[in-house]
Amino acid sequence: MENDVLIKADGVSKKFCRDLKTSLRYGLADLASEFIGRDRSPHLRNKEFWAVHGVSFELKRGECLGLIGHNGAGKTTLLRILNGLIKPDAGRIEIRGQVGALIALGAGFNPILTGRENIYVNAAVLGLGRKKVDERIDEIIAFAEIDEFIDMPVQHYSSGMTVRLGFAVAAILIKPDILFLDEVLAVGDISFTIKCLNRVRELMRTSAVVFVSHSMPLISSFCTRVLVMDHGHTVLDTTEPGVAVNHYFGLVKNAQQVSGSGGASVLNIALTSSGITHQDGNAVVRQGEEGTVDLSLRIEHGHKGMVSLYVDDATLAQVLVVPVADEHGKLLLLGPGEHRLRIPLGPLEMNAGKYSLLVGVRDPQTETNLCRHQGLSPFTVSSDRVYWSKFVRIGSARILSTEQLA
């Protein structure tokens, strides 16, 4: 029984319409077809596109399928079809067993009612009766950590308290064979998030899970299989989350952005490393390899510039800065003209992900920003797993000593 296939999806497809008026008209036509017993057509009409196209997989108890991809890749739509909210336009889905979902936490909450009253409403929406709630209401309240506010109207709750309560109701009460999760794990503060993750782990042991998330560490640590989706298609189906995450980062589009007074400009930039490879036009560096940046830039007449080199992560947040100094350790001041610099970055110990370079040139006399060029020379740091930190020290960190104390 434990190896039973609980979800079987075969060529699942769904089309959406770009235009509202047309969409409503098609809706009318679809209603008419349904009422006269005609099946949905697997052909695109004018202004339609495939939001999900030809997705197939099987999932057993104990397995966790991660769905990753950009916004609009079709992940949530696929989840809604699996959940039976909307019908597929082509393909077939078989669902075996009781379905539970951690989606839309706190559905049915009414702001005027108290937390306690809302627990019963939310539970009823999830299909759970009064008796089941009575048995476990203390556990729910304790899990949500809102003991003293439970008889206060929910409209006076902070947003964190509301989602905590919503999560607690669903997570304590459901005991599903199949669990759907859509970006709900990062609720509340860090201690609550960890509690959520532990609870979801427990639920996962006895169920087949489909998990939509943009958090690569979560995908990496939870999933036994990952589908990378792009424009409705499965572009990669793998049992190695690390491979899927790398592929996903390869899909990230990189945009350059230049600002500043124009007193300086980047002519050329390249990242070199002994551990660099190129896959489909993307530079990929093994985690921990040394990197060097080859930078050519021009300072316009009448300016002097100090250069800083940054490494940005996928969200364009700066994770590393290299203030460019001369051989004596003093910050380098460049005069007008063209310069070529070779700047060592040291070991690239960033967590697996997509990165790019940012060059900043500042005139220290006038304190003006001559150039800020972002999104340069994008590269991916690859490793077998994604960690919960910005930097990962591997290999060089040897245990100095170990002894058992008790």
Partner: protein, 284 residues
């Protein structure tokens, strides 16, 4: 939530291809929606009155205001009304009260779906629960209206008799008529907002060819219209039973109730079939 051990299959095929499964699932969902329906109705009623000072009286205020307006129009001679056979305030009050019940039942399905959109687009729960909880809320409001109405009738010197126990039957007839029309209009109304906007306009006009504030005309084209109007027997029967007389068109009343019931079953089927298609086009 689906029962353990069962296999649910989703395909592009119309549910009419497997009528056995369709009817089995309808029965199952209606049964399992019961608890949720109560819970939702309870939530809405509690929330509605907790945030209000006059509370339950609001169920009565709208028809009362309407009555006062018509009594004023009548006594000032602005509108000339034929003899209604009872004190005019009683005629208008019972009429508008019953009519208000019809309009509420008519609007309920669309309103229920409209306020639950975010739930509908994200969670699987028996869609029947929205309709049933709408009917429970209707029952609650109708109950308040009738409980307040009886002493008011006594005040005006009307002596209700044993027919009073039949009033809930008339009310249910009105509920069936309103809900069946509301349900049939729901699939289109969820897709296009025109229906929700049009219902009050329709109701306003329909009221004037129903013996709500005007007496039944005795001849002419208006008399024909009043007779063809299926709401006429419902209102007349309800009013007669409230004011202590037998229904003037009992056969017509029973026929309308039965047809409404059958239309409601059809409406339920269409609503259920339409839901996945409508949710797909809904903004969450």
């Amino acid at each position: 939530m689906d029962q353990a051990g069962t296999v649910v299959v989703y395909t592009p095929a119309s549910v009419l291809r497997t009528p056995g499964t369709l009817f089995r699932e309808m029965g199952r969902d209606l049964r399992s929606s019961w608890e949720l329906s109560w819970r939702l109705a309870n939530r809405d009623i509690t929330a509605q009155y907790r945030g209000s000072m006059l509370g339950y009286l609001w169920a009565f205020i709208l028809p009362l205001a309407n009555t006062l307006a018509w009594v004023f129009l009548n006594s000032a001679g602005i509108v000339k009304l034929s003899n209604t056979g009872m004190p005019y305030p009683v005629y208008v009050l019972t009429g508008t009260m019953l009519w208000q019940m019809f309009v509420e039942a008519l609007q309920a399905p669309l309103q229920q779906v409209g306020t639950s959109k975010s739930m509908l687009t994200k969670l699987k729960f028996p869609r029947e629960a929205l309709i049933v909880s709408g009917m429970i809320k209707w029952g609650f409001n109708a109950g308040i209206k009738l409980v307040i109405l009886v002493p008011v009738l006594l005040f005006f010197g009307v002596k209700p008799d044993a027919h009073l126990v039949l009033v809930p039957v008339a009310a249910i007839g009105i509920l069936l008529a309103g809900t069946s029309l509301g349900l049939l209009a729901a699939p289109l109304g969820i897709l296009y907002t025109d229906i929700a906007k049009g219902i009050p306009v329709f109701a306003q006009f329909a009221m004037f060819i129903t013996p709500v504030v005007f007496a039944m005309p005795s001849a002419g084209i208006t008399a024909r219209l009043f007779h063809l109007n299926f709401m006429t027997p419902l209102i007349l029967t309800g009013r007669a039973w409230l004011t202590g007389s037998p229904s003037p068109m009992l056969g017509y009343f029973i026929a309308v109730c039965l047809i409404s019931f059958m239309l409601m079953l059809l409406g339920w089927l269409l609503y259920r079939m339409a839901m996945p298609i409508l949710i797909e086009r809904m903004s969450s």
